[in-house]
Symmetry: C2
Subunit: 258 residues, 2 copies
Amino acid sequence: METTNELQDFIINGYKHYIPHISIDAAIFGYHDHQLKILLSGFKSLGGYCLPGGYIKRTETLDEAANRIVAERTSLTDLYLQQYKTFGDPDRIKWNELDFEKFSEKLGIPYFKDSWLIDQTISVGYYALTDFSLVTPKAGLMSDSCDWFNIDEIPPLLYDHDQMVKDALHTLRVQLYYYPIAEKLLPAKFTLTEIHAVYETLLGKKLDIRNFPKKLVFLGLIKKLNEKRNIGPHRAPFLYKFDLKKYTKALETGTTLT
Amino acid sequence: METTNELQDFIINGYKHYIPHISIDAAIFGYHDHQLKILLSGFKSLGGYCLPGGYIKRTETLDEAANRIVAERTSLTDLYLQQYKTFGDPDRIKWNELDFEKFSEKLGIPYFKDSWLIDQTISVGYYALTDFSLVTPKAGLMSDSCDWFNIDEIPPLLYDHDQMVKDALHTLRVQLYYYPIAEKLLPAKFTLTEIHAVYETLLGKKLDIRNFPKKLVFLGLIKKLNEKRNIGPHRAPFLYKFDLKKYTKALETGTTLT
DNA sequence: TTCTATTTGGTAAATTTTACACAATAAAGT
DNA sequence: ACTTTATTGTGTAAAATTTACCAAATAGAA
């Protein structure tokens, strides 16, 4: 929080560059070792975690804003981003539970509670998918930390962000059946067992280890490479990669996956 | 437009009760005689049509606001309503093409262009389904007319509403495959041929006249009644109705329909 | 009674999904 | 060099679902 000046300026003058009353919150998902992960921002002053979020510049489209907000936490641009729902319950933020005096003092700003930030805000929910291993989470201007959490080990979140995660996850799961977006969660080369595990974890159900990869190959979505992975004292599995052409088409058209 | 006072008050003081910078626009669909219809608001001053829309009261949830806005045009509440996408391109409204002088004069308000309404606005898109025959379209506070249009005969719309219709229709079609929402477009009692026609028009593709209804019956979604409809010089078809229990469950769970 | 247009029961063929047996193989231990 | 262990991956048969379409039923008009 060394850039206090920048923060003060955002709180006092932000409304000139950002649209008030609207924010974006992003559920950024990653996958590692049979676990679905999500990126959460920690706020010491609020004593809790919430989804990474931000405001929309007056010059940006929603997608551009979401991209920027996601990039601020992951340092990666052009992640797979999907707008899934907009949240606008008038009581989604419990203003009376926030200690404005404390904030004013901490931020060095006289009347924080009168700022443009402190008013009813509707939030556009996006979810993003990324290869877990490529991300080094970064805390932002307001937040104190940013870290990966296993999806079934996240603490109760601030505001209505528990509901946001639930809805994002639901959309992700539905879309996973029709769009081969597992590609976004895997490295460029992977084994059949690995992609099988991604689908089992994300969908939360068993898929036949032989039939499932067979279908992916049959649809032409993935192609066998002439390389194997060494996995110790077992038969070395072949590596596969997504077929870009078929994959791109399936992303647009949709294909039923089991 | 006899309630000029009400309108003036909305333009001048509306921001006290409504959230600025955010609106809701609704694509209200109906079906009649092999045609999908959509409700459009006409604006003489703008010389064009757009989707019925409105602002969100500070006490309302988004769904409540959408319900109110839809009810203002249809006089019907509790229609099937789905939020499908939020639109926020900075240039979705071409401000420079609007003649504020003319508006000010017409509305009897000195500086219309300085009102809270004239600023970047993000719009939450909803689509609604309703039995065409139950609706008597009503013009609203700002609009001059409100009428049904065949979906393939709508004029170019104002703002980004062409894109909104396109996206709403896409969502409707996708959802029609998994949720038996044709129920919302049909009267309580209908023949197999009628429900078959609804699906063919909405999906824009041929469905086998025998297999399709057979599947609906097999899934238990619709049930045969002990009544027939007189259709002139042909064999009288049986009437069917949706099975409320199976139908409600399918709305939540989803079922694949061909 | 016959004709026309439409509804509907039934059934066979084609396709897709599901289940599962077993052969292949990599490396470590004996 | 052979055995053991754990995992990969080919093949195939059974089950279920989807698709195609024949032919009978039927209502009113000619």
